[in-house]
Amino acid sequence: MTDAIREEARKILSDGKVDFVIGYAEGDTPIQAKPVFISRVEDVDKLVWPSFGLINLANYLLRYKTRNTRIGIVAKGCDTRSIVALLKENQIDRERLFIIGVNCPGMLSRQVAREKAGEIISAENKGETWSFTTVEGKKEVSCFDLMPSNCAACRHHAPVISDVVVGDPITEPEGDGYDSVREFEKKSAPERYQYLMSEMSACIRCYACRQACPTCNCDECFVDITQPRWVDKGLDKTDLAIWQLIRTYHQAGRCVDCGACEEACPKGIKLLWLTRKMNLIVKERFGFEAGVDPEALPPLATYEKDDTQEFIL
């Protein structure tokens, strides 16, 4: 995969089709990939196909909204869906974009690795398993166990739009991937509220989740607005919960379940259980899935006369 990506990147750079390519490189700390911007052909070998690459590279496209740059981008299935969501909102130009789509078999998560193994000091890949040296000693975890919930729930491994595709096609698993949501719904309401509050009270408002998300791209986020002040600064529990709830609501029809927010959180707060529910609401109520159909209108920007209105008095 790495070789194929390098090959394509080299081609478009030397043909002058793009000014630079956004891709993944090996990170400095264990089990982390970092985004790189390659503008010279001789640097192409820095590109890799990472094991721990939950960063959504479509995020970086927003910076070039008003600049006349031609960009190559290495995009997983979910990243291409984000690109579609951005195109839909006129955030980027398709003409200035060259998408190296990747048939992504799923990424591994360092949040999960931390959950399974502990505080990791060094890591080594042994094919089907990863061997971690942690503060509590050595631990082996299989790749399957390191998969984040969003990759396990993924039903769009193949790129939705692309100029070239690398990697072998992947058979989509059965089911719709929303089992975890249905499982959570079985809990009682007070339990669910309790869970929301206990997860969100850990938030430190570093906004890594928002910044890591390509579709969180408002010029001014509601949480930063001071007049009126919708959400007080500080660490009040209700403020933190409302911040995440409104962020989730704003993701209706835009979230592609790439998992970048959860992976970015320095406190390891679970965020996908909220956004995935929003995706399910949008799918069941409005028959819409983010970034799958480039032609469909965003669900909250349109309506059907026969939308079910069962909850209205």
């Binding site: 400095d28 970092k34 910076r63 503060v135 408002r205 500080g234 660490l235 970048a260 970015a264 320095p266």
Partner: protein, 337 residues
């Protein structure tokens, strides 16, 4: 220096000889991360962990702190009483970080009473790092895994026990009554220090303060900030980042004024009321971050504001390593356009 066979002796001594309910704050596992939290017992302490995921600065400088309350024109002081505390088992880089904060908050003209009260009432028990982590780079920023400066009590783990040093009077008083013999031969420590220092990756930051000063308009910043997504993770985990934001929260005539941590990488950090933003792009914000740590701070206070703990690199969602960037800045040659 004195020698102890078990660290528990010192812990018990401190918990017995401090006023009732004095918290002993040390590294503790919560969820799957390590924080500096009050310990219930010695066994709760995660002794194998070098650094918490978050720094001990929150002990002195909480993320969200009420400064005062008000009712119309009347000011009501915050009633929270600041009690003495023991900060247990912090590493030299974090101690240096606390020192930087103290320098910042304890200037001749301006003293921060909130920070200073906590600082004065806390006994800092430091500990040397025999096994540094990959990602540590304290030796490149004038630190050392065996540096006891700034601590009140400092622990050196040795083969058959622990050597205890008391660099400050406060520390000396705290261990008074601990019934153990003095050790005079501590030559072994020098070898231990060198061995630990050799394990740490060394970067060359020579002349960086002046170099950065000449790079204000450099192209360097344009590509260095590229991967940064502009969150506040690095500043929030940093032991020496001390920027804060002041906010009022009110309802009717009553309200409170509080301060929260802020980060120079937030877009709204420099946003002015008029709507003008003096640092509108990521490259300018990154320039500020690096300049503050490696140029402005050394100019004013004579030492780097980065202590080489490497937390920011580990916590960063996109794996930006400030040491790499600083080292690149030192080597940077402006391309001829």
């Amino acid at each position: 220096m004195i020698k102890l066979n078990e660290l528990r002796q010192l812990y018990d001594h401190l918990s017995r000889n401090t006023p009732r309910n004095t918290p002993i704050i040390g590294l503790k596992k919560e969820g799957n991360r390590y924080y500096y939290r009050p310990l219930k017992s010695y066994d709760e302490w995660s002794s194998d962990v070098l650094l918490g995921n978050f720094s001990p600065k929150e002990v002195f400088f909480p993320q969200d702190e009420v400064l005062f309350y008000f009712k119309a024109q009347k000011l009501i002081e915050s009633k929270e009483e600041i009690k003495p505390a023991v900060l247990w088992g912090v590493r030299p880089c974090d101690i240096a970080g606390i020192g930087e904060l103290e320098r910042m908050f304890n200037q001749i003209e301006y003293k921060d009473p909130y920070f200073m009260e906590r600082f004065d009432k806390t006994l800092i028990v430091g500990m040397a790092c025999t096994e540094p982590w990959p990602g540590c780079f304290c030796t490149s920023v004038e630190g050392s895994p065996y540096e006891s400066k700034g601590a009140d009590i400092f622990i050196y783990p040795i083969e058959d026990g622990y050597l205890i040093e008391t660099p400050s009077k406060k520390g000396e008083a705290a261990i008074e009554g601990l019934d153990v013999e003095e050790v005079s031969d501590v030559s072994q420590l020098e070898a231990d220090r060198r061995r630990a220092e050799d394990k740490i990756k060394k970067y060359n930051f020579e002349g960086i303060a002046d170099k950065l000063k000449s790079m204000v308009d450099s192209n360097f910043w344009d590509w260095i900030h590229n991967p940064c997504i502009g969150c506040g993770t690095c500043a929030f985990v940093c032991p020496s980042c001390h920027c804060f934001d002041i906010n009022d929260s009110s309802r009717g005539a009553r309200g409170l004024r509080s301060r929260q941590w802020d980060s120079c990488l937030f877009e709204g950090y420099t946003l002015e009321t008029s709507g003008h933003n003096p640092r509108p792009s990521g490259s300018q914000r990154w320039r500020q971050r690096l300049m503050h740590k490696f140029s402005y701070f050394p100019q004013v206070f004579g030492s780097y504001q980065c202590l080489g703990c490497g937390r920011c690199g580990r916590a960063c969602p996109v794996n930006i390593n400030i040491a790499e960037i600083a080292a690149k800045a030192v080597e940077w040659v402006e391309p001829q356009s």
